[in-house]
């Protein structure tokens, strides 16, 4: 027994070890394979059966071999002494086995030990242990696998060291290895193999690109932002339920389909759905997005400059009338004497005398400075036009009334000039071959001669206007008639000759004028002003007046500008160098214009109208061809009373002073200074 007891002790030690192994490696599935060990374990755990088992237990020494090898042998192995261990006698056959299974209630806890070939019935503790193992739990019931952990090596510094181990010696003596390494480095530095580290480049890698930027350019860039072109808003056609007129008919659909896609007015067919729910997915979505991208990509990257201008700034800056002085501002003198409307006035070249012709069949000569009527000449008809010869060396006034023009020597001014004029006229000798002329020249005699009349020209038709050439020898007169070629005749006083320059009628001639310097002749019909070259005898220019009926015309002393007054209240300024259309149209008068005039020296022109006013304008013509004339209305002069719906009939400037004369239907001539 002692020996057995010793072996039991050995076995128990083995089981302990195996138990530990089992705790870590046992799998539930392999329980059966482990059963031999469990057998030992059972032995150790059940002290009641331990004695019985120990008595039977023979230690088999075959080791861990498949026990089938001993299937055909009576023994199942060898004990420690090398003797055969015989199999227990198996009396149970298959039937017994079955019956046992059926009848034995402990069959399920009976296991067969192959090593010994015996059956073992497991106790409750053993079954419980098997269950625990199968569940992967520790075999020991009392073992707590979730004991609270004690964190010895925590980050907190404890007052007591974890170990009580003294510090190593090497922790307080210098390290030889380090000394060696330092020596190598020092050597390398000495030899120049190691260079000190380069200072870091101070230039910052990144910097504010716009730090130095001017605020204005930033704003400018913001301003230059070009917004994407806006998408067209959907219209009725895009509606899921468009009005019927937007739906295409069959023919239209057909036509739409036959068109090229880029020719189509709309890129889709409007369709009608009963409700929004019935609208299918948008099939052209990708296509439409692509076209939108194309639009964005191809949209013009040009800024449309919006002109933000104050409309007042667009009005040209005109100088103030105050700065354009001198010009006539007030009525100074009234020349009273005529009893009917004064049709025409003219100032002598010296500026001392004024002649006026009136419907009361008189011509009056006035002293300008005192409004004294020095002479009155009666004629036999209403005086239509008077004109003082511009030649200062002769003293002649042309007067037209009815069908007659009278050249009159008023006997004013220098006596010598007056007598010289008389001599010039009387010294005329009739040429041998006298041509038949349309106009009859006769010498005034008798009382007419005493009144100053010198030459009388009888015309076939009523003469409306007479005007002198600048030299004072030629005299043009107008006999308006709609369809006659004899509307304008030019007389030469020194040779007493009359010419008819135009063969064809171009409309009713209103007035004519000579160019002040060049051999041009201006003829104003109702709508046009024609400029003829007298030497080449051709039409040079035709000015379109843009008005219905020209009433009067004046040529600038420089010769390049013409003003035309018209019955439709307009005054047209032509710059002959610019165009044949008016450079400027002035509509200051309320009623028809009757007379216009330029000043000889001052940049002034005046217009008289039926509204009884004279408007004086500053009309500066520059020598510089690039600069257009400056036209500023400066003064409205009122004084004439309106009689029979007629106001001012003629205007004339003083030759040397900035004074303007006007004659009116009220029978007066007025001087404005």
């Amino acid at each position: 027994l002692t020996s057995e007891g010793e072996t039991v002790m050995e076995h128990l030690g083995q089981i302990e070890i195996m138990d530990v192994e089992l705790g870590y490696s046992l799998q539930p599935v392999s329980l059966i394979a482990l059963l031999p060990h469990a057998h030992f374990l059972l032995h150790s755990l059940s002290p009641s059966s331990c004695l019985a088992m120990c008595s039977q237990d023979i230690r088999n020494t075959v080791g861990n071999i498949p026990m089938e090898w001993y299937k055909d042998y009576p023994h199942i192995g060898y004990d420690l002494d090398g003797k055969k261990i015989f199999k227990p006698i198996r009396t149970k056959d298959e039937l017994d086995e079955f019956l046992d299974k059926m009848e034995n209630p402990d069959y399920w806890r009976t296991v067969h030990n192959k090593m010994t070939g015996t059956d073992l019935r497991l106790s409750d503790e053993q079954v419980d242990l098997v269950h625990r193992l199968q569940q992967g739990k520790f075999g020991d019931v009392n073992f707590n696998e979730y004991e609270p952990a004690i964190d010895f090596f925590s980050s907190e510094v404890m007052i007591h060291p974890v170990t009580n181990r003294p510090e190593d010696k090497r922790s307080f003596i210098p390290s030889l290895i380090e000394k060696e390494k330092v020596g190598k480095l020092v050597h390398a530095i000495k030899m120049g193999w190691i260079k000190p580290r380069r200072p870091k480049e101070t230039a910052p890698k990144y910097y504010d690109l716009w730090a130095q930027e001017d605020l204005n350019t930033v704003l400018g860039r913001h301003k230059m932002h070009i917004p994407a072109p806006k998408m067209r808003l959907p219209g009725h056609e895009e509606s899921y339920n468009p009005p019927p007129e937007y739906l295409l008919t069959e023919e239209e659909k057909l036509a739409w389909e036959q068109q090229d896609p880029e020719d189509r007015r709309v890129s889709f067919l409007p369709q009608k759905y009963s409700c929004l729910r019935a609208v299918p997915a948008f099939s052209r979505f990708i296509h439409e997005r692509f076209e939108r991208c194309l639009d964005l990509y191809l949209c013009p990257r040009q800024r449309k400059m919006r002109v933000n201008v104050n409309p007042e700034d667009l009005i040209p800056k005109l100088p103030k009338p105050k700065d354009l002085q001198p010009f006539p501002t007030t009525q100074s003198l009234v020349y009273r004497g005529h009893t009917s409307l004064v049709r025409s006035i003219s100032v002598s070249p010296s500026g001392q005398w004024l002649v006026s012709g009136s419907d009361d069949c008189t011509v009056r000569f006035w002293e300008v400075s005192t409004a004294r009527c020095l002479k009155t000449v009666e004629v036999s008809g209403a005086v239509k036009s008077v004109a003082w010869s511009p030649n200062p060396a002769v003293c002649l006034v042309a007067i037209s009334y009815g069908e007659t023009i009278v050249l009159l020597n008023p006997g004013l001014g220098d006596k010598f000039i007056c007598s010289a004029t008389d001599q010039l006229i009387s010294s005329y000798e009739e040429p041998e071959e006298s041509k038949e002329q349309s106009v009859q020249w006769t010498i005034a005699e008798g009382s007419d001669h005493e009144h100053g009349q010198r030459l009388i020209l009888k015309h076939p038709k009523a003469v409306r206007q007479v005007t002198w050439h600048g030299k004072g020898d030629y005299l043009a007169c107008v006999m308006p008639d709609d369809n006659s070629s004899l509307q304008v005749v030019i007389h030469q006083v020194s040779k007493r000759r009359t010419q008819n320059p135009f063969r064809k009628s171009k409309g009713m001639v209103q007035c004519v004028s000579f160019h002040p310097i060049r051999p041009y002749f201006f003829v104003a019909t109702q709508r046009y002003v024609r400029v003829y070259n007298l030497i080449k005898q051709e039409l040079t220019k035709k000015l379109m007046a843009n008005c219905k009926w020209i009433s009067s015309m004046a040529v600038h002393p420089g010769g390049d500008n013409v003003i035309c007054g018209s019955y439709d209240c307009r005054l047209a300024w032509f710059d002959l160098d610019l165009s044949t259309k008016p450079y400027k149209m002035l509509r200051h008068h309320k009623k028809a214009l009757r007379g216009v005039a330029y000043h000889k020296h001052y940049p002034l022109f005046a217009s008289g109208s039926d509204d009884g006013s004279v408007i004086v304008c500053h009309g500066m013509v520059y020598n510089d061809l690039l600069q257009n004339p400056l036209i500023v209305p400066v003064k409205v002069l009122k004084g004439h009373t309106i009689t029979h719906d007629l106001g001012v009939l003629d205007v004339a400037f003083h030759p040397s002073q900035p004074w303007v004369f006007s004659s009116g239907a009220d029978g007066t001539v007025r001087l404005f200074t």
């Binding site: 500026g351 040397s656 200074t673």
Partner: protein, 422 residues
């Protein structure tokens, strides 16, 4: 009511009062101040008669209340105001109205006779009482200007200038009442608008529309001057003309337009005004232009006062302008007197008072000015019914004006006694 400290003084010894400041109400006007002075004088002089006074504050006539005047003139009311007082100018008394047949273009009067030129081609001599004494008809056209040359005893010399381009020198015997054209001064090529006799009374100068000034001798002789232009047909004219032909001593040319007025500032210097907007001063000895004053308007008339050495001009606007002819820098208008509403056609300084002048205008009014009150004239003489063309002021205190209403008005202007003394 606020009070002012004022000290009164006068240059007339007769009305002198104590030189002590008075406290007077600021709202007092001319009449109040005049009463104050009269009261003071009554206290001083036993037999003082009431005299109307006019008051000058810093050389300007007082025309409103003292406070408002000092306010407009920017005079401090804190200090003592110096107020000068003078005897009030009495209004010119209308004397005569002499009717003519036609417009009166010019008038010149001396102490006894009035000489007028008229648009009826004659010149007339009138007594001061308005009696027609003599008519000189010889011009073939309107008489534009007249002038007395000399009066010694019974015979007088006078000049008439006309639109017919001649100046006639007449000799008039007042006793026999006979007139004779002594010389016909020919040479102008335009109407002679103005003539003036020099201070020595031996020469005269004429200005014409032909832009020329011509100086002629005013001494009658028995010889006829040579005529330079032999080819000029004179036969006919000679038979017509009155008197012997005279040619100019000197011609001054320089004006660009008609000469409208001319006068002698002294024996050596001539002053002419023209339509070319200039007044030119000429040296008579050399015949050269000395200086030029430029205006902005046509000059109608000028007048020069040797007392104050100022030139007054009337032009084709509403102003009478005063110039200093000695100033070298061109145009210096010292003062402009604005009250007329038409062209100023006549202007004449008082021969005795350095502050006063008379002006006639196309607005039918003759105005009497004191240049110390330039805002408003002293008196308006509104007698004419038409444009005033000429005006004159004699040494004896007679103001004459003629115009287009064919009337010549004379006014007696009593220059106060103190002025003669001053």
């Amino acid at each position: 009511m606020s009070q002012l400290q004022a000290r009164f003084f006068t240059e007339n010894k007769k009305y002198a009062i104590d030189d002590v400041p008075f406290s007077i109400p600021a709202a007092s006007e001319v009449a109040d101040l005049s009463n104050v002075i009269n009261k003071l004088l009554e206290a001083r002089i036993a037999d003082h008669k009431h005299v109307e006074f006019d008051f000058l504050v810093r050389g300007q006539f007082l025309r409103s209340s003292l406070a408002s005047h000092m306010d407009t003139e920017n005079i401090s009311t804190e200090e003592v105001v110096e107020i000068e007082y003078v005897q009030k100018f009495t209004a010119p008394q209308p004397e005569e109205c002499i009717m003519h047949d036609d417009w009166i273009s010019s008038v010149e009067a001396d102490s006894e006779w009035i000489l007028t030129g008229s648009y009826d081609k004659t010149a007339r001599i009138w007594s001061l009482e308005g009696k027609a004494v003599m008519t000189m008809a010889g011009h073939t056209d309107v008489v534009k200007d007249v002038a007395w040359v000399k009066r010694d005893g019974l015979s007088s010399l006078l000049l008439t200038a006309s639109l017919d381009q001649t100046v006639l020198l007449w000799e008039w015997n007042s006793e026999q009442n006979k007139v004779k054209a002594r010389h016909c001064c020919r040479g102008h090529a335009g109407s002679v608008d103005t003539i003036v006799v020099d201070p020595s009374r031996t020469k005269f100068c004429s200005g014409s529309w032909d832009k020329m000034l011509k100086i002629w001798s005013a001494v009658p002789t028995e010889e006829e001057d040579e005529v330079e232009e032999p080819n000029r047909p004179r036969k006919k004219q000679k038979t017509e003309q009155l008197g012997l032909t005279r040619t100019p001593l000197m011609t001054l040319s320089g004006h660009n337009e008609a000469v409208s007025a001319v006068l002698w500032t002294d024996a050596e210097e001539l002053c002419s005004a023209s339509w070319d907007h200039t007044i030119r001063l000429w040296d008579v000895e050399t015949g050269e232009q000395k200086s030029m004053l430029t205006g902005s308007k046509v000059f109608n008339c000028i007048s020069y006062s040797p007392l104050c050495r100022r030139l007054a001009s009337g032009s084709t606007d509403r102003h009478v302008r005063l110039w200093d002819p000695r100033s070298k820098d061109g145009s210096l208008v010292l003062l402009s007197l604005t009250s007329h509403t038409g062209w100023v056609t006549a202007v004449r300084w008082s021969p005795s008072n350095q502050h006063q002048l008379v002006s006639g205008s196309f607005d039918n009014i003759v105005k009497l000015w004191d240049i110390r009150s330039c805002k408003a004239p002293l008196y308006d003489l509104a007698a004419h019914e038409d444009r005033v063309l000429c005006a004159d002021w004699t040494d004896s205190g007679l103001i004459l004006s003629g115009g287009a209403d064919n009337k010549l008005y004379t006014y007696r202007y009593s220059a106060y006694v103190s002025d003669a003394g001053a």
